[in-house]
């Protein structure tokens, strides 16, 4: 059905319903008006009848006066009053139609009474009998006249009451009909409106909703043809639009996510770059240290050689001076020179100086040797490591950089060896020691213990510093996790430590308590399969690199 046809049907239905309602109400209103008009007419007639009562009263009084006093002058007046009363009776049109009987009787009695008055007027004073007879007759007629009047009055009252009741009933019925018809009309019009809404407006609303979301399940079966056609076209268009919109939104979300990831990557790249620069610096310093160590090593060699020669020379010089002292008695001048140059004191102090120099050179030599060992000059290769020695060497390297408030306590109870990369293990130990020193803010102790049990070597590096909370402990081995200020730590140190220890088939764990300290425990297995170490070392190194790369790229 087309919208135009449906609209015409709706308008026509509304018109017919309204017309019917109007007809029903109009008819009832007309009936009510008719009744009201009749009631008004009756009320007017009631007033006339009441007036008639006073006329009758006066007329009867005049009649009585005439008969009591025999005043014949009153006859004309009685006649005129009688005519007026009869005229009045003629004017009661409604009563003549509806209550004709008492009215007619009233007229008849009036007509029969008037001649009696005229008749009495000519009766002489001596004709007492006739007079009394007429008097009796006029009383009888007037009594019946009054009875008819009262009947008339009663009937008009009944009629008036009945009409008033009818009018009130019709009025109430009219009000009831008005309410009923109004409710009925409103209900029908509402239903028509709902029907119209379902047929036209609702489909249009659904069509408009297509712009918000595609609704392929919408039904337009009962909708007008125009809406069906539009809905088919719009459904398709809006569906495609909505689909593209959703895709665009998803793409936007993805782009935003990628942007965030990119920003994160940039930040991490910057951190990595800083780390690489630091690494490069460290490598350069390592190379420099290796070169310096190499250059220092040769002079130390010949200085040590010269010191040994010098010891021999001093021994000879000492023997010569002892022999020369024997000649002091013979050569007093010699005694003077000996005292002048304090030869005895020199002879006593020389061995100590030589020992001290020798010892210092040995220490320099050890440092140079250790520097060479940690400056990558020595390639990463599997070797047998005496952990006790490695720890001591590491402490020698670290101690100069530790503050004076930090003391180191050693408890190295085993000479157990293991196979692995001494350089890497030392790197781990250095890192952990420096971290322990950083954790001690005022004065404290770093305790390093070494134990061996069940083919496992355990190293405990413990401090009494500030400690860590649980969250820090959980994340401490994650790459790029750091509690140090920006620029002071990269967050890679402990991750590399873990990777190195894992590459040796071991493990590293941490336990800590706030304000009480932290303890790192390194567990290393005592294995002798070189191939295993080399494989795991290389694989762990690559996995550590991959892990760091993954953290950087976010994959």
């Amino acid at each position: 059905m087309k919208i135009a046809v449906q609209s015409q049907m709706l308008v026509m239905s509304c018109f017919i319903i309204s017309l019917l309602s109007f007809c029903v109400l109009g008819l009832q209103f007309y009936q009510s008006s008719q009744t009201q008009t009749e009631l008004s007419q009756i009320e007017i007639e009631k007033g006339q009848i009441n007036h008639l009562e006073s006329m009758l009263g006066q007329w009867l009084t005049t009649v009585d006066l005439f008969f009591n006093n025999r005043q014949s002058y009153l006859v004309m007046g009685i006649e005129r009053q009688g005519i007026q009363i009869k005229e009045k009776l003629k004017n009661l049109e409604f009563s003549q139609t509806h209550i004709a009987k008492p009215l007619t009787q009233l007229k008849n009695h009036m007509n029969s009474a008037l001649p009696l008055v005229n008749q009495a007027a000519i009766v002489g004073p001596e004709e007492t009998e006739e007079w009394l007879s007429l008097l009796k007759e006029i009383d009888s007629k007037t009594i019946r006249l009054i009875q008819e009047y009262e009947s008339l009055k009663q009937q008009i009252k009944v009629l008036s009451d009945r009409k008033r009741d009818d009018f009130e009933a019709q009025k109430q019925q009219l009000v009831f009909s008005f309410i009923t018809v109004t409710v009925f009309t409103v209900a029908i019009l509402t239903l028509l409106g709902i029907w119209n809404s379902r047929r036209i407006i609702q489909p249009l609303t659904l069509l408009s909703s297509l712009s918000d979301n595609a609704a392929p399940s919408l039904s337009f079966d009962n909708a007008p043809l125009e809406i069906k056609t539009i809905s088919q076209k719009l459904t398709s268009s809006f569906y495609n639009l909505a689909k593209e919109k959703r895709q665009a939104e998803l793409a936007n979300q993805k782009i935003e996510q990628q942007n965030l990831q990119l920003q994160d990557t940039i930040v991490r790249l910057e951190e990595t770059r800083v780390q690489l620069v630091e690494n490069e610096k460290l490598a350069s310093i390592g190379q420099l240290a290796a070169g310096v160590a190499h250059e220092i090593n040769n002079p130390i060699g010949y200085v040590m050689s010269n010191l040994e020669t010098l010891e021999d020379y001093i021994s000879d010089m000492k023997a010569f001076i002892e022999h020369a002292n024997e000649l002091k008695n013979k050569m007093p001048q010699l005694n003077v020179y000996s005292e002048q140059y304090d030869i005895d004191y020199i002879l006593n102090d020389l061995p100590e100086l030589l020992d001290s120099s020798h010892s210092g050179l040995k220490r320099v030599k050890t440092i140079v040797k250790d520097l060479r060992a940690f400056s990558h000059e020595v390639p990463n290769h599997i070797e047998e490591i005496v952990l006790k020695d490695l720890i001591e060497q590491t402490i020698n390297l670290v101690r100069p950089s530790l503050p004076s408030t930090v003391s180191i306590h050693l408890n190295l109870n085993t000479m157990q060896t293991l196979h692995g990369s001494a350089t890497k293990i030392a790197q781990v130990l250095i890192n952990l020691m420096l971290n322990a020193a950083d954790a001690i803010t005022k004065q404290g102790t770093i305790s390093i213990s070494l134990f061996s049990e069940n083919n496992v070597i355990k190293i405990f590096i413990e401090d009494d510093g500030c400690g860590m909370d649980a969250e820090t402990q959980n994340n401490i081995f994650n790459p790029f996790f750091t509690t140090k200020p920006v620029g002071k730590g990269t967050g890679l140190g402990l991750h590399i430590c873990l990777t190195i220890i894992k590459s040796h088939g071991g493990d590293i764990s941490v336990s800590s308590e706030i304000d009480k300290g932290t303890c790192f425990t390194i567990s290393l297995p005592i294995l002798r399969n070189n191939d295993f170490y080399e494989d795991t070392l290389s694989s762990c190194q690559s996995s550590a690199t991959k892990s760091i790369k993954a953290r950087i790229t976010g994959d």
Partner: protein
């Protein structure tokens, strides 16, 4: 309009009332009803004049005699066995249905014995003719009747309506008529009444 002018002219014309006369139409029949044992009666005609009217207005305030009520009136003296039994006095009272004429039977002590309507067109008449209604008037003197009337509001008291069991134009008129009748009788026929009472005293052994 002409009707009212005529009525006003009628009321103001003194000649109309010049020959006022009030009496029983059929005295024998009426007296028989009121005094079944009567043997004879005699009538005394006297004129009710302006002086009577003044006295009535003094004793019954708010209830003056109309000019129409003035004129010659008849008092019937009822006798039996040579003794005066009482009186019959007919008076008219204007009501809405013309004049009501009531014949009042009065004893020697000027108390109401009974009454009869000589003319009454009212349909309410039957209410006033019941024994109960009649008993309200029977044995009542003027003072007794005056107690049934409220002179302040110039209408019968509620007690009167309750006793006669009717309230309307006719019952009002009957009470007024009774009071006026007794008073007018005493005023106008005073000499005759005194004479009759004196003769009765003399006859007592």
């Amino acid at each position: 309009m002409r009707f009212f002018i005529f009525i006003i002219a009628l009321m103001l014309s003194p000649y109309v009332w010049a020959e006022a006369y009030c009496g029983l139409r059929d005295p024998v029949a009426m007296i028989s009803k009121l005094y079944p044992n009567y043997q004879s009666y005699r009538s005394i005609v006297r004129t009710i004049d302006a002086r009577t009217r003044i006295k009535v207005s003094e004793q019954l305030p708010g209830m003056p005699l109309h000019f129409g009520e003035l004129g010659r009136h008849t008092l019937y003296v009822i006798e039996a066995k040579g003794m005066t039994q009482g009186f019959v006095h007919v008076r008219s009272e204007q009501t809405r249905w013309g004049l009501v004429e009531i014949a009042w039977a009065i004893d020697l002590e000027m108390k109401i014995i009974d009454f009869q309507f000589q003319r009454c067109r009212h349909s309410d008449r039957k209410h006033l003719e019941t024994p109960i209604s009649r008993s309200v008037f029977q044995g009542k003197s003027l003072n007794g009747l005056m107690l049934l009337y409220d002179f302040n509001s110039n209408r019968p008291s509620t007690a009167y309506y309750e006793q006669v069991k009717h309230q309307g134009d006719l019952s009002d008129s009957v009470l007024k008529c009774a009071m006026k009748t007794l008073l007018v009788t005493q005023i106008v026929w005073q000499k005759e009444l005194d004479s009759i009472n004196q003769s009765l005293v003399n006859e007592v052994p």
